[in-house]
Amino acid sequence: MPIADAGIMYGLLAVGAGLATGLAGIGAGVGEQGIGAAVVGVVAEEPGFLGKGLFLMLLPETLIIFGLAVSLILMFAWTPFSALL
């Protein structure tokens, strides 16, 4: 079904962008939850582990950046997409 109205198109893009960042954020959060708990436990035992723990804890953060990259493309570089329809 072709979407004729550019306003609706833009609205849908915005919803998609929101979902992309939001869901990626949830994913990253779930990932970090477990790692964070484990890292706090290890650091309590051995403070020297802080740097490596931080490194591990920040690994899933890349996920949300992917979501955000998708959002940015949708919001700021959407013109190519409209041409596809």
């Binding site: 802080l50 740097g51 490596k52 931080l54 490194f55 920040l58 690994l59 953060e61 890349t62 950046i65 992917f66 955000l68 990259a69 940015l72 700021f76 570089a77």
Partner: protein, 674 residues
Amino acid sequence: MLRPVEMDRVVVAGSKDVMAPVIDRLHELRLLHLVNYSGGEASFEMGKPIGNAKEYSEDLIKLRSLARYLDVKNKVPDKTFSESEILSQKDDLLNSVGTEATSTFERITAIDAEVKSKQDQAKALAPLAALPLPLDEYYGYESLAVFVGTVATPVDADVARVSPTNDIFSGSTKTKTVVAVFVPAEKAGDVSSVLAEHGFSEISVPKLSGSVDSAMATLESDIKSLEGEKAPLQKKLKDMNKKYEDLVLATDEYLSIQIQKTEAPLRFATTENAFVIDGWLPSDQFGKLKSDIESAAGGKVHVEKLADKEAEDLTEHGEDVPTKINNPSLVRPYELITRLYAVPEYKEFDPSLLIFIFFPIMFGMILGDIGYGIMTIFAVLLLKKKFRTPGWQSLINIVLIASVWSIIFGAFFGEIFGPLGLWGKIMGQLPEHQIEILKTSGMYFGEGVYGSLGRLGPLGVFPMDRLATNAVLMLIGISIFIGVLHCGVGSILGIKTELNYGEKRHAYFERLPVLLFQVFFAVLLLGLVMGQMIMVYVGAIVLVISIVMAVMGPEGPMGLAHLPSHISNLISYLRLLAIGLASVGLAFAANQLGFYVIMPMLSGGAESPTIPAIIAGILVLFVVHFINMLLGILSPFMHPLRLHYVEMFTKFYSAHGGGVEYSPFGHVRRFLKV
């Protein structure tokens, strides 16, 4: 700078009569990183402590407990002592002062315990006030069982059913019903189960006499007098702390040094008449060490530097070469970030200098606001006076340098507490017809925002508006470019590190393909964006070559599994733009909200604002900007940190395990005069 200081392996051998002066001298020099003798050679055995090590240890234990009683914390020295001063005051400090502090501290502990027990008694007594009995009637029976406690429902009838002979008193406080049940001892079991059905919870009656009220009054006055006794004792400890603090810390230092010296032979290899000390020291210090030790020992010692070949042999057999990181003072704070991750190995690179270059730029690019930058500098300068430990000082210096960059980027982005649009007013708006031209060429991005990258400014580029579409697109490009540069430098260091270890295959077929892949992936993208097909072709060809190289490498086809992560490494740098946008967005929203409340005429509302509206507007501005600034310091710090740890360090760091920090035999004298 990028490499740790060059080290030499040294052996000191001498006659045992000069061991004590040699140890003294070594301790003073603080140059030799000792290698512990681990046994294994038939003719050598581990040395024994010299002098009275035991006495010093005992003194140190006494002193540490005194320090605990006086609540002495490590701090910046107010005055320093000479060793003779310490020696003359040490016994007095450990014995008479120590006894006094101990007895005072123990009395305070006893008072605390007594107050606690009296408070518990008073708490138990409070509900009993509802009953008419004096306290001595609750205990001292042989044939009677007594139950005192609170119940949820009346118990009289049920108790009478199991034990016809009984005496029950009940009363109620504000919240609960209190009962005292007296029954013959043989019925105790039955009654207890009946009471349990009524939600009985027992109160243990303190063994006191007289009425409840008078007992309560006595307890309270006792507590008061105990507290009264405690206050001057605490003051006494505090005064003692003030008086002896520096002396305690200085004595601690003195004793630690003595113990270090007396126990040093445990780390040496000795024979009946001689000793051998192994260690590492910076190459340029060898001459000083040799002449100093030889003069201290009167020639009865031999100091020798091992040849490179022999030293290499030792390291191959598991001896760690200590790493001495050496950087100019401006870069030194960033060693904190390096150490937090791991101390580099001797053959690896020390990335502090690179962190010094990249970290503040990344921080600045994310925060990028003149107002926030200045506020951060003020906040950090205040903290700098307050937190004087080296760790905090490094952290504060890191943020200080980063804030300067955020002011510079703030000028690029034209942001002072959010995008105020000030620059448009300063630079003047474009004439109408030029806007039309911009519009037709697709270069117009909204009111006050023009030029190919946002607003017009010096060079036709800055200050730009980070929220404008093209600025976002350009910042995406810049972020990726910084990523390629950052990862590329990491990869180059990785190649050199592998070569230092002599692993040519790893260098050229594991590290190099990553570098080629990332750089030419970026070239390909750039070619696509700019429409330069030649760049696309070159990029694609080199990408294929790099993939082939990775497959030929030590990991074989498994090397292909890393390809997605090379791309995601680069995408990860988008956070430089993204986090910044989030904080600009928040600041923009705060300004919009605040200014429209303060100045309703902007949005076509009332002609003049009311006073409550002004207060509310200022409050909104203050609170939101404050929160934004707190987040704005935290996340621009954490995320570049992550970019270093995850994206860059993994390219070259610790592929061979963490290093050992150079810690020469000796002690920093802080409270003792040198």
